[in-house]
Symmetry: none
Subunit: 197 residues, 4 copies
DNA sequence: TATGAATGAGCGTTCATTCAT
DNA sequence: TATGAATGAACGCTCATTCAT
């Protein structure tokens, strides 16, 4: 619901009231419950609305015959999407949900959701990195899983920074990563060339 | 108030009640209002306490005569500190502060604090990276400011991930960065060596 | 409405929702209001349906020429009927009706219905007891009206207990009553016999 | 709370609102929660307030050296207590709770409470009846457990009838029971006397 | 006539805040 | 000054009822 996202991103999930969301949407409070079982689920839906497309693209690993979007291109697209206006709402929602999970007493049940999503995406990133390695575009000695975890952390961090400093140039940052990856690759080629002499 | 910080860290600002804070502090609920005008202000005071021991080391740029801790070592130490138990409380408090700033109606006044801190740290990181470049340990064509922003985002993201997945191996991730940096450096040396032939 | 009775019996009047009644009846919630002005009236109609098959037998007093079923037999049959599965629904509906009457603001108008029914049944029981006395099967010094009231209370109580403890052996309980009645009778005969000496 | 009992007995637990109870008690709604965890517990406390003294007296079985109150006296006292004004509230509360338990989906957890209380009281009644048998004041061939169940049902039923017909003479009914018991006893003595001739 | 989405008042409960002691 | 019982507004949510279709 666009009205819910609007109120959630302006006030936060905790501070937003169902009455205000309903008023913003131009309906009555009770009508919300026809479509969502409660405030919690409404917030979850709002959160999943943003970035789901990009996330799912990372989760589908490339294969030799079906390489999909090259790593560099997908990485650029992912961070470029952070400039979309709705990202702000998605990120604050995500942040609130993380805190809620951290403070929840449900023995980590809620946290498992985040971990599963993270693990899936990290696995997807790692698969793509291994694909790059197989294609000779990434240094073979790099640990793709650790690298994927590092990239995911960077992505999460960048989203948070965007919240506080929307002008931060994440695109330039991802270019540095791409440059580093390229440098780590060509080194071997150059070294091989050097040894050939 | 140390008692307030304790409760805020454990339950979150929203979930913490003045009654519990008072009980933890060993005083009555009413007594809190002698020292703080309300819960909100109490939370703000607790958040401003957030010390930055490691952060400050990054802020002091190295100089030729006083190099301080090498980049790699400081980077390793910084992420190693994420395994300390008190980090969890510090991170949750930090995240809550971010949310508070995002939702605050004070026209970004609170947000400025975050940005100043971030900019200082990023500047410190960039200075150290430039020092590494000057020493020939980092490829000259890398944009140190962008790289610093990327490292800061990674750090912030890693702290969040640690909250949800304490078992995540941030140390391995930072090693990948160090490896990438080293690879990007040696390439030039190797290339230079190759060209020498 | 049979659907309404079904839902009321299963959930109770308060817990039953118009939506569920409508769904059970296979119509829309709004359609109910074509036939009943509201939930309250619907409940009242369902409650008035409560048939009293066994009850009516007690109401018809025996006469010398037309003794009908003997007291003991009818008493046994009455409590044996409490084991029928449909009794549960009938009893809950009865109890809810009692509560409704107690809480109603209609100055006891609703309560009069209960009292009339109770008085008729008690009168029937008393008539049968008097018949037993006349036949010499029940001690003459017993107050049949008080005894009838006691038996009716026992019956109502037993129905309630069956609700909470379906395994309670009401048949054994009624046998005790029959035994007591018999003992109270034979005493006189024995005493008479003794006096005859 | 006397105010709660007043409102509960006038409106019923379901229909009574915490706001009305608070207003009747002359306090604010929130103040109720300082003394009771919620409406449910408040209702339970109100219910237990009535008749607890009598109940507990039945539960303590008599012993040869410590016979306690004779059965007849205690029975008379128990039904005489039904004329106390607060009994009405206690009975309606009890009735509502039974219905609540019947309709609850908690797999009979709530019902167990009623059954335990019932079983304790029935056991107490049976123990007293056995004591009477041992003392020769009650026919030995009577089944004390079944008789106790019958007396308990009568008591529960009488309470309900009092709700609908406060003028019903329960005292006269209990006198019939006492008469029946006495008759069943003396029969044997008389019979023994008769046989002696 | 029947529908079923929408209404909106009202519920139990919480807890930051106050103030008589 | 400190207490802690009391306040009371506000919340998420329900559901009997309505009414445009």
């Amino acid at each position: 619901m666009v009205a819910a996202s609007e109120v959630f991103s302006k006030k936060g999930v905790e501070a937003a009231t169902m009455a205000e969301i309903a008023a913003t949407a131009g309906i009555s409070p009770g009508a919300i419950y026809r479509y969502f079982p409660g405030k919690e689920e409404l917030a979850r839906c709002c959160m999943e609305e943003g970035g789901e497309a990009v996330d799912s693209e990372w989760m589908t690993a490339p294969e030799p015959g079906r390489p999909g979007m090259p790593f560099n291109e997908l990485a650029r697209k992912t961070v470029a999407a952070l400039d979309e206006p709705m990202q702000r709402a998605a990120t604050t929602l995500y942040l609130e949900r993380v805190l809620q999970a951290v403070f929840a007493d449900d023995d980590g049940v809620t946290m498992e959701e985040f971990n599963e999503q993270r693990q899936h995406i990290c696995a997807g990133i790692a698969a793509r990195l291994r694909f790059e390695q197989a294609e000779g575009r990434l240094a073979a000695e790099l640990d793709c899983d650790a690298l994927a975890g590092m990239l995911y952390s960077f992505y999460i961090g960048a989203r948070m920074i965007k919240l506080v400093a929307p002008e931060s140039d994440v695109n330039a940052q991802v270019e540095q990563i791409i440059t580093l990856f390229a440098a780590a690759t060509t080194r071997k080629a150059v070294a091989a060339g050097a040894l050939a002499h």
